[in-house]
C-alpha cells in the first residue's frame, strides 16, 4: 500500500527545488564555452574569417515591420538612406543630398543631390526619384513602429516640390522653416525606389533603397534577413548576411545570446542593466554603451494639489538622488538630467543637477505640512518591461513616505499606456514615469508641446504647466528666422525648465547593447548611417 504518501511528496518537492537552486547558482558562475568561435578560424589564425556566414541579432520587436509600415525597415538596417542625416553633435549632415541652402526667409530650400548613386536594383538616384517620394508622402500619413511619417509635421505648409535639373530639388513652403533640415534628419527624408510602392503608398513586396544592404527574407513576428548590396555607392558592408530575430521577452533574448543562438542584441531595451552588469566581467561578450536621444521624465500633475505648488516640484527634484538611481538600477548607464533637453541635441545647454535631501524635505514640508496626502503614481507597462521603472517608483515612493513631519501615502499602479494617458489627461494622477525621445533634430515641437500652456503634451499628460514668459519665448521662436536667436531661446527655455520644473527630468538614457566577442564592430549609436556595415566575424 502507498506508505507515508504526504511526507514522501514533500521531501520529493524539496529535493527537486534544491537541485534546481543548485544548478541555478552554477549558471551564474561558469559561463558556457563560447560556441560562437568558428573552429575553422581557430586552426588558421591568419586566414580571414569566413564573412559569408550569417550573423544573427535579436531584438524585442520586428526590425522589418513590413509593408504596412511607413519605412518597411528600421534605418539602422541600412536598407534605405535619407537625404539628410546627422553627425556626432546632432547637427544635420549630408547623405543622399550633398549640400543644401535656403533663401532669406527660409521658405525656399534647394537640395543638391549626390551623383552616381544607384538603388539596389540598379535604377539611378536622381531628382525624379525625390519628387516621386514626396508624391508618395502626400498619400500619408503612414503609421510606423519607429516614427510616424506625416508630411504636414515634417514639411509644414509644403507648397511645391520641383526639380530644376536632374540633381537639384527645390522645396517651397508657405512660411519660413529655418530648421527644416533638422526635421528632415534620418526618418524625415527616407528615399525609396518608387517601383516598390503600392498604389496607396504602402509597400508592394520588399523595399528598394540605396543602402548597403537589401531585404532578402521577412517573416513578420519571427525574423528578417538582409544581404549585402555589392553595388553600394558608399563604403560597403563587410558581413554578407544578417538575420534579425524577434524575441520580445528580455530573459529569453538574453538566454539566446548566452546560448550562442544569436551573436548580438539590438534596438531599444536590447538588454537590461542587470544583465549588462553580468556580461561586463565576461571576456566572451562585449557590452557597448552609446548615446541615446531618450530622456526619462517624472511627469507630475501641476494642475492639482500638491504638485501645483512649485515648492513641491522643486522639493521632490532635490530629494531625488539621480546618481544612486543610475548606479543602482541602471548599472551606471545614464547621465543625471538637470534640464529638459537631451544631451544628444545640438541645442543642449547643460543645467546643474542639484541633490539636497534636507532642503528638498523642508520644501515639501512647507508645501503639504502634516495633512494626509494620497499620491497616485502611474507606471506604463510598455516601459516597465524595458526599464527598471518598478524599482525606481518604489524608491521614490519610499522617499516621499518617509519625510519627517509629513503624512504622504503613495499608491503605485501599473497600467497599459492607453488608459494611463487617459488618466493623466483627465488629471486624476500625480506622478508618472515615462520616456520621451527626440522626434527630430529640431527641438521646437518638443518645447512647444511640453512647456507651452496650450502645448498638446502639456494638456495630454495633464502637466498643467503655465508660464507666460515661456509662452512668449515659444511664440517668438515659432516665427524667428535667425538660427542663432533660436539657439538662445532654447537655452533660456532649458534654464527655466531646470527651475520651474514643468516636469522632472530624471536621467538621460544611454543606449546599451551587447554582442558576443565572436563578432566585432558592433557599436551602440543613435540611429547613425553606419548601422551594421562595420559588423563582421572576429578572428
Amino acid at each position: 500500500m502507498n506508505k507515508r504518501l504526504g511526507t514522501l511528496l514533500l521531501s520529493a518537492a524539496c529535493a527537486l527545488s534544491l537541485a534546481l537552486s543548485g544548478c541555478g547558482g552554477d549558471a551564474a558562475s561558469t559561463p558556457p564555452p563560447v560556441s560562437g568561435t568558428d573552429p575553422a578560424a581557430a586552426q588558421t589564425p591568419q586566414a580571414q574569417p569566413d564573412q559569408t556566414r550569417e550573423i544573427a541579432f535579436a531584438a524585442s520587436r520586428d526590425q522589418c515591420p513590413g509593408e504596412q509600415d511607413a519605412y518597411y525597415a528600421s534605418m539602422s538596417l541600412g536598407v534605405w538612406e535619407p537625404l539628410v542625416t546627422k553627425n556626432e553633435d546632432g547637427t544635420p549632415a549630408p547623405a543622399l543630398a550633398e549640400r543644401w541652402e535656403h533663401n532669406e526667409d527660409a521658405t525656399v530650400w534647394t537640395f543638391h543631390l549626390r551623383e552616381g548613386v544607384t538603388f539596389s536594383n540598379g535604377a539611378p538616384f536622381d531628382a525624379d526619384i525625390v519628387l516621386a517620394n514626396f508624391e508618395r508622402m502626400k498619400k500619408g500619413p503612414f503609421d510606423s513602429s519607429f516614427y510616424g511619417l506625416n508630411i504636414d509635421t515634417i514639411y509644414p505648409g509644403l507648397l511645391s516640390c520641383e526639380k530644376t535639373d536632374d540633381f537639384t530639388v527645390v522645396l517651397t513652403l508657405a512660411e519660413g522653416q529655418p530648421l527644416l533640415d533638422y526635421t528632415m534628419v534620418n526618418y524625415g527624408s527616407a528615399m525609396f525606389e518608387p517601383s516598390c510602392f503600392a498604389g496607396d503608398g504602402s509597400f508592394a513586396g520588399f523595399p528598394i533603397g540605396t543602402g548597403p544592404y537589401m531585404v532578402k527574407e521577412n517573416v513578420l513576428g519571427q525574423y528578417c534577413v538582409i544581404e549585402r548590396n555589392d553595388a553600394y555607392w558608399g563604403t560597403p558592408g563587410i558581413a554578407q548576411t544578417f538575420r534579425f530575430k524577434v524575441i520580445p521577452d528580455t530573459e529569453t533574448r538574453y538566454a539566446a545570446l548566452r546560448a550562442g543562438e544569436v551573436q548580438g542584441l539590438c534596438d531599444l531595451g536590447a538588454i537590461s542593466p542587470a544583465q549588462a552588469a553580468e556580461l561586463e566581467g565576461d571576456s566572451a561578450y562585449r557590452v557597448s554603451v552609446g548615446d541615446s536621444g531618450i530622456t526619462h521624465f517624472l511627469n507630475v500633475n501641476g494642475g492639482a494639489f500638491p504638485f501645483d505648488d512649485l515648492r513641491m516640484r522643486e522639493g521632490l527634484s532635490l530629494l531625488l538622488d539621480r546618481q544612486t538611481i543610475i548606479d543602482r538600477f541602471y548599472n551606471g548607464y545614464g547621465l543625471a538630467a538637470g534640464g529638459f533637453l537631451s544631451y544628444t541635441s545640438a541645442f543642449y545647454a547643460e543645467q546643474p543637477v542639484r541633490y539636497d535631501p534636507e532642503q528638498g524635505a523642508a520644501l515639501i514640508r512647507q508645501a503639504v505640512g502634516d495633512q494626509p496626502v494620497e499620491l497616485l503614481f502611474l507606471l506604463p507597462n510598455g516601459d516597465v518591461n524595458r526599464y527598471p521603472y518598478q524599482e525606481e517608483a518604489e524608491y521614490i515612493q519610499a522617499l516621499l513616505e518617509n519625510i519627517e513631519g509629513t503624512n504622504i501615502k503613495v499608491q503605485i499602479r501599473l497600467m497599459d499606456w492607453g488608459p494611463c494617458k487617459d488618466e493623466m489627461k483627465a488629471g486624476n494622477y500625480n506622478m508618472c514615469l515615462k520616456i520621451q525621445g527626440l522626434p527630430s533634430a529640431n527641438p521646437f515641437s518638443l518645447f512647444r508641446n511640453f512647456m507651452h500652456t496650450e502645448g498638446s503634451t502639456n494638456l495630454n499628460y495633464g502637466l498643467g504647466y503655465h508660464n507666460d514668459h515661456v509662452d512668449a519665448l515659444i511664440e517668438e521662436a515659432a516665427v524667428c528666422l535667425d538660427a542663432r536667436r533660436l539657439g538662445e531661446i532654447y537655452a533660456e527655455l532649458q534654464a527655466i525648465s531646470a527651475e520651474d520644473f514643468p516636469n522632472l527630468p530624471v536621467l538621460y538614457s544611454q543606449e546599451v547593447v551587447a554582442s558576443s566577442s565572436a563578432i566585432t564592430g558592433y557599436q551602440a549609436d543613435v540611429y547613425g548611417l553606419t548601422g551594421y556595415t562595420q559588423v563582421c566575424w572576429a578572428q
Partner: protein
C-alpha cells in the same frame, strides 16, 4: 495500522504544512524580522547572510520578510475567488439540475459559452480593462471558474433527482429546499471539496500568471507571484535567491493543497481504491 490510521497520518502531515504556510502569512507582522517595505539602497541585491537570512532584493528590502508577508495576497485572493465561484456554481448548478426544462437548457447554453471563451485571455482582458485591483481580479477569476462547479453540481443533482427516494420525499410533501439541503448537498460534498482544492491550486497559479503580465497584485505589496515574475526575473542569474524563496513557497502551497484534495478524496470516497487484484 489500519487504512484509516495511515490516512489520518498523511492528512495530519499535509494540513500541518498548509497551516504552517497560512499561519506564516496571518502572523506575518510579528514573524517578519524587519519591515518588508523598508528600502535600503546601500545594501541592494545582498546575497543571503547573517543580517538578511534570504538576502535583499533590488531595493535592499529583506527578502525573508517579504516572503513571509508575500502569501497573504495570493491566499486571500485564491480563497475568496474560489469560494465565490463555488457558491455561484452551486446556486446555478442546483437551479439548472433541479428545475430542468428551459432553465436547464439556458444555463447549459450559457455555461457552454463561458467554457468556449479562452479563460486566461478573458482574465487578462478583464483585469487589463477594469484595472488590476483585488476586486477586478476576483471578478475575473470567478467569471472564468464558476462553470466547473456548476457543471459538477448539475450532474450530481440530475443523478440524485432520478433516485426513487426523491419521489418518495416529494410524496411526503417535503419542500424543495429541504430536499436539496438534506439530500442533494451531502452527496455533492465529496466532489465539491475535491474540485475546490484543485481549483484553489489553479487560481493561485493564474494569479501568479497575471503578476507575470504585471496585471496582478500591484507593487509594493509583497506577493509571491509578483516576486517570481516581476523585477526578480531580471536578476535571475546574478541573484537567484530572489526567485527561489517565493517560488518554493508557491509550489509548496499549491502542492499541499492538491495533496490535501487527494487525501480527502481517498477518505470520503472509499469506492475508488477498493480495487480487484490484477
Amino acid at each position: 495500522m489500519t487504512l484509516r490510521n495511515r490516512q489520518n497520518l498523511k492528512l495530519a502531515a499535509v494540513s500541518a504544512v498548509l497551516l504552517a504556510l497560512i499561519g506564516m502569512t496571518v502572523l506575518a507582522p510579528w514573524l517578519a524580522p524587519c519591515d518588508p517595505l523598508a528600502i535600503d539602497m546601500s545594501n541592494c541585491l545582498a546575497p543571503p547572510g547573517r543580517a538578511h537570512l534570504l538576502g535583499t532584493d533590488a531595493l535592499g528590502r529583506d527578502v525573508l520578510s517579504r516572503v513571509i508577508h508575500g502569501g497573504r495576497a495570493s491566499l486571500l485572493l485564491a480563497a475568496a475567488a474560489t469560494s465565490l465561484s463555488m457558491c455561484a456554481g452551486l446556486v446555478i448548478g442546483i437551479a439548472a439540475g433541479y428545475c430542468g426544462g428551459i432553465v436547464d437548457a439556458a444555463i447549459t447554453g450559457v455555461s457552454n459559452i463561458f467554457q468556449g471563451l479562452p479563460g486566461m485571455v478573458v482574465m487578462i482582458a478583464l483585469v487589463g480593462v477594469l484595472g488590476s485591483n483585488t476586486r477586478s481580479i476576483i471578478l475575473a477569476l470567478v467569471l472564468t471558474s464558476w462553470v466547473g462547479f456548476s457543471r459538477l453540481v448539475r450532474g450530481e443533482v440530475l443523478k440524485i433527482k432520478a433516485e426513487p427516494y426523491i419521489e418518495g420525499m416529494r410524496g411526503l410533501g417535503a419542500g424543495h429546499l429541504r430536499i436539496i439541503l438534506r439530500h442533494v448537498m451531502p452527496n455533492i460534498r465529496t466532489n465539491l471539496i475535491i474540485l475546490f482544492t484543485t481549483r484553489v491550486g489553479r487560481v493561485i497559479l493564474s494569479v501568479a500568471g497575471l503578476s507575470y503580465l504585471s496585471l496582478g497584485i500591484q507593487p509594493p505589496t509583497p506577493d509571491w507571484g509578483e516576486m517570481i515574475s516581476g523585477t526578480a526575473r531580471r536578476y535571475f542569474r546574478s541573484a537567484p535567491h530572489l526567485l527561489w524563496a517565493p517560488g518554493i513557497c508557491i509550489i509548496l502551497l499549491t502542492l499541499s493543497i492538491h495533496v490535501l484534495g487527494d487525501l480527502l478524496r481517498d477518505r470520503l470516497d472509499v469506492k475508488q481504491d477498493a480495487v480487484k487484484e490484477l
